[in-house]
């Protein structure tokens, strides 16, 4: 398989002085599994694309990239497309054709292989990736996870020697993401393909990789095995410390010595030998029982007369000034619930009360003075050419616009086009637009999807500010870690209904699998700890 050498690479975009890549020198051995991490905009994607010349961005470039001793810039399209596979972030945008089988064959068609050869390779890929069952389907019938797996398979069908993945799981739910990563791991371990991957969620990927490379402002600032990175925690930048695996974070929080644990299993082994100073019953938070602002009373919903119920007799309450998290697996009806709460769809039985008034009785404009929704796909909110005019559309008051821009750190970007912003910035802009509505109830559909740890803590700060203003936030999420850390109460949507709404501690303590890494790590050793802070507190002498 192929090795990659990057020598003194300097790159800047046209009309810009800023060096996006600043003297990067790197050598990746054949068959290595490398994780490249860094905050968004640090030059990760630019670096990855330099390896594959046909999709590398235009700009000024110095230095060389070699793939198997061959200059990447001089590689032919045939050679490069065959040798280097590239999977991008958004599962949808990479798909070219309408059928799964055709998508798998697309690259092979381009190479001009004959029919029998393509048939063989496609069949091989379909069985290796477990696609056989949905092989004949239309691509728009697939889930996000299936789409991304298909994208991977269609790249692997060309038998590449290097596989490059640019945040491949950021748009997937945790279960699909894990499944995807384990497939990548399998490709690396079984086929010896060199893999370079960038990721935000490091919990699952850290144990798989041979080597972690961290970048900041176009430079490589750390390079080593996962355990080595864990032992050099203090010297690392904050984003990496925030997003590192739980075991690693707790280990470094209490400044323990010895080898740094990476997985939950290693974390447990380490934790057993630690002295526990505080029992968790001392850490308890009080959930205030305020007035109820939103209440769903036994609502049921189905999409058409002959279909099955998506939601059945679902009830819950949301109180003033709280963050209520509704968790649930894919397809459990979470998005449908958002539609019902925001009057985009109507339940066929049951009532939704907002401020003790039936939702049905609200006039259109009146309702949306009380409720607003941050959608999952935030680009769907953008209508204007600049960030400023985007916000001016919601509020004519200049001072309000300014204030919200300050709160979300958008001042610097006020003249940019919304589509030119990074994922995190787009999320902030969308949030600004929703907050500017000034509604009392804010529903957020997967607000942390594809976001890095830094954004999450920014979001948490904003939410706590909103809570202090007495506003109610309902988040619909897959993100267990985020909900465990910040939610006041959690609810599980399962089997078409909400089973229980409890405070976050009892919620996650009752679960065994569907819970945080910190909880899994400390179960049986420290009872009732659900976040890494909880564990760290118990381990510290006070």
């Amino acid at each position: 398989m192929a090795e990659i050498k990057i020598e003194n690479l300097i790159f800047s975009y046209p009309l810009s002085e800023k060096k996006v890549l600043d003297n990067v020198t790197l050598s990746i051995a054949s068959g290595e599994f490398v994780l490249l991490c860094g905050r968004s905009g640090c030059g990760k994607t630019t670096l990855l694309r330099q390896i594959k010349s046909e999709i590398s961005p235009k700009g000024t470039k110095k230095g060389k990239v070699y793939v198997d001793g061959e200059d990447a810039d001089k590689m032919t399209l045939r050679n490069s497309s065959q040798k280097i596979g590239f999977v991008m972030q958004n599962p949808d945008n990479q798909i070219v054709t309408d059928k799964v089988w055709h998508e798998l064959a697309f690259g092979l068609e381009n190479l001009g292989l004959d029919n029998e050869k393509i048939r063989l390779r496609v069949a091989e890929m379909a069985s290796y990736f477990g696609i056989s069952l949905w092989f004949e389907k239309n691509v728009n019938e697939l889930s996000g996870g299936q789409k991304q797996l298909m994208n991977l398979a269609s790249v692997m069908a060309m038998h590449p020697e290097v596989l490059i993945l640019d945040e491949p799981t950021s748009q997937l739910d945790p279960i699909s993401a894990e499944n995807f990563l384990s497939t990548v791991d399998k490709i690396n371990k079984e086929l010896g393909v060199t893999v370079i991957i960038t990721e935000h969620r490091l919990e699952e990927i850290f144990p798989c990789v041979d080597r972690v490379i961290a970048m900041e402002e176009g430079k490589i600032i750390a390079d080593g095995t996962p355990a080595q990175i864990g032992n050099r925690f203090e010297s690392l930048p904050e984003f990496l410390r925030l997003s590192a695996p739980t075991a690693m974070r707790i280990f470094n929080e209490v400044k323990s010595d010895g080898a740094c644990p990476v997985t939950v299993r290693e974390g447990r082994a380490w934790l057993k030998n630690q002295k526990i100073f505080t029992a968790t019953d001392r850490i308890k938070d009080v959930v205030p029982e305020n007035e109820v602002v939103l209440e769903a009373k036994e609502i049921s919903f189905r999409y058409s007369k002959n279909s099955h119920d998506v939601l059945n007799n679902l009830s819950f309450r949301a109180c003033k000034g709280e963050l209520l998290a509704i968790l649930g697996a894919n397809g459990s009806g979470k998005s449908t619930l958002v539609k019902l709460l925001s009057a985009i769809a109507r339940p066929y039985s049951g009532k939704i009360m907002i401020n003790s008034k039936n939702l049905e009785k609200y006039k259109f404009t009146e309702l949306y003075k009380n409720v607003s929704v941050l959608p999952q796909n935030v680009q769907a909110l953008f209508t204007s050419k600049t960030v400023k005019s985007e916000l001016a559309e919601v509020s004519t008051k200049d001072s309000d616009v300014k204030e919200i821009m300050k709160l979300l750190g958008l001042e610097r970007l006020s003249e940019s086009h919304p589509y030119d912003l990074s994922g995190g910035e787009q999320q902030r802009l969308a949030l600004a637009k929703v907050l500017l509505k000034g509604t009392q109830i804010i529903i957020m559909d997967e607000p942390t999807k594809g976001m890095d740890a830094e954004f999450k803590s920014v979001l948490a700060d904003i939410i706590s500010k909103l809570k202090s203003e007495g506003r109610t936030i309902i988040i619909i999420s897959h993100d267990i870690e985020f909900c465990a850390k910040y939610a006041d109460r959690c609810a599980m949507l399962f089997d078409k209904t909400i089973t229980s709404v409890t405070d976050r501690r009892s919620f996650f303590n009752e679960n065994r699998f569907y819970t945080t890494a910190a909880n899994r790590m400390s179960r049986g050793i420290i009872e009732g700890a659900i976040t890494d802070e909880d564990v760290a507190i118990c381990l510290k002498e006070n």
Binding site: S81, N93, D98, K99, G112, N115, N140, V155, Y368
Partner: protein, 313 residues
């Protein structure tokens, strides 16, 4: 169902439907017209089950009555008046008969088209016509991918806008047009933005290399080849029969069927001239029957094979 005629090679499917549609339109011989109707309905029934019966009674039968009536009331050719209409024109035997024949042949063609839609998927169509021009084939495959995607995105945008209190469904007509226009413009921005990534993904997988091929999942079996040969032979026989007038039928000014034969039967009351079938006429009708019921014959053969295999187990 995934066997029988439906799983034959696309060339077989398309050749078959092209043949039956063309001959249903060209041959106006009453026996052939009847065969067309029965076979096309039987095939559609086989494909759609009870829904086919509904279509027949609620859509096709009313159409039959309507076309026959319209032709009878507004066309006044023919030599056999049955009654005089209020406008002074006469209602003729010939125009009613021809109206009926026309209606039945139109209905058969429609039924064949319905069957075609069920059997010939876009993929099969592409296989037959897209091979010669791979660029066009890819454009069609991409359109089939992107149109549903854009539809979905339109819905997402509309709902997201509603979620923050902008509505495109209410308000007066001008407002609604304006709002829909706004969503379409958002959709366009979104589509163009994302198309860049699609282009990269295509390029990364070697799009643009010389010698691109179009992959197809279909292979000819011996049976496929045999069926194609059969259809072509039947087509030839029927063409000859049409050219030599063996299946001749005339409805204007008076009805004349099979004039090639020597002896004639004349029914004076209706000015009806009937000739017995010629030998070649009979052959033509026989092969036409075989052709029209071909999908059912293939399905039946397949079914019998299964039954036999099952009984062995």
């Amino acid at each position: 169902m995934n066997n029988g005629f439906k799983s034959c090679h696309p060339t077989v499917n398309i050749l078959f439907y092209a043949s039956v549609v063309v001959f249903s339109m060209l041959i106006k011989h009453p026996v052939c017209i009847a065969i067309s109707l029965f076979s096309s309905f039987a095939c559609y029934l086989r494909l759609k089950g009870i829904a086919a019966v509904k279509t027949f009674f609620f859509f096709l039968l009313p159409m039959l009555v309507f076309v026959t009536a319209v032709n009878g009331l507004f066309a006044h050719y023919g030599v056999t008046p049955l009654a005089v209409l209020p406008d002074g024109n006469s209602l003729t035997f010939e125009s009613i008969v021809y109206g009926f024949v026309l209606a039945v042949s139109v209905i058969s063609v429609i039924l064949w088209m319905f069957c075609y839609n069920e059997v010939v998927t876009a993929e099969k169509f592409m296989h037959v016509f897209g091979k010669r021009i791979p660029a066009v084939a890819l454009v069609i495959a991409m359109s089939l991918r992107f149109i549903p995607m854009y539809k979905e995105q339109f819905r997402i945008i509309a709902q997201a806008q509603q979620g923050i209190g902008f509505d495109y469904k209410t308000g007066n007509l001008i407002q609604r047009i304006k709002n829909t226009g706004k969503i379409l413009s958002m959709l366009l921005t979104w589509a163009l933005e994302n198309a860049i990534e699609t282009a990269d993904s295509m390029r990364a997988r070697g799009y643009g290399l010389k010698g691109r091929k179009t992959y197809s999942r279909f292979r000819y079996t011996v049976q496929d080849k045999f069926i194609i040969a059969f259809i072509l032979i039947v087509d030839a026989v029927l063409t000859v029969a049409i050219v030599y007038g063996s299946l001749f039928a005339q409805y204007n000014p008076y009805i004349k069927i099979n004039p090639e034969a020597q002896t004639e039967i004349f029914i004076e009351e209706f000015n009806l001239v009937l000739f017995p079938f010629t030998a070649f006429g009979c052959v033509a009708i026989a092969v036409y029957t075989l052709l029209s019921f071909l999908p059912l014959i293939i399905d039946l053969k397949e079914e019998l094979k299964w039954q036999k295999l099952k009984s062995k187990i």
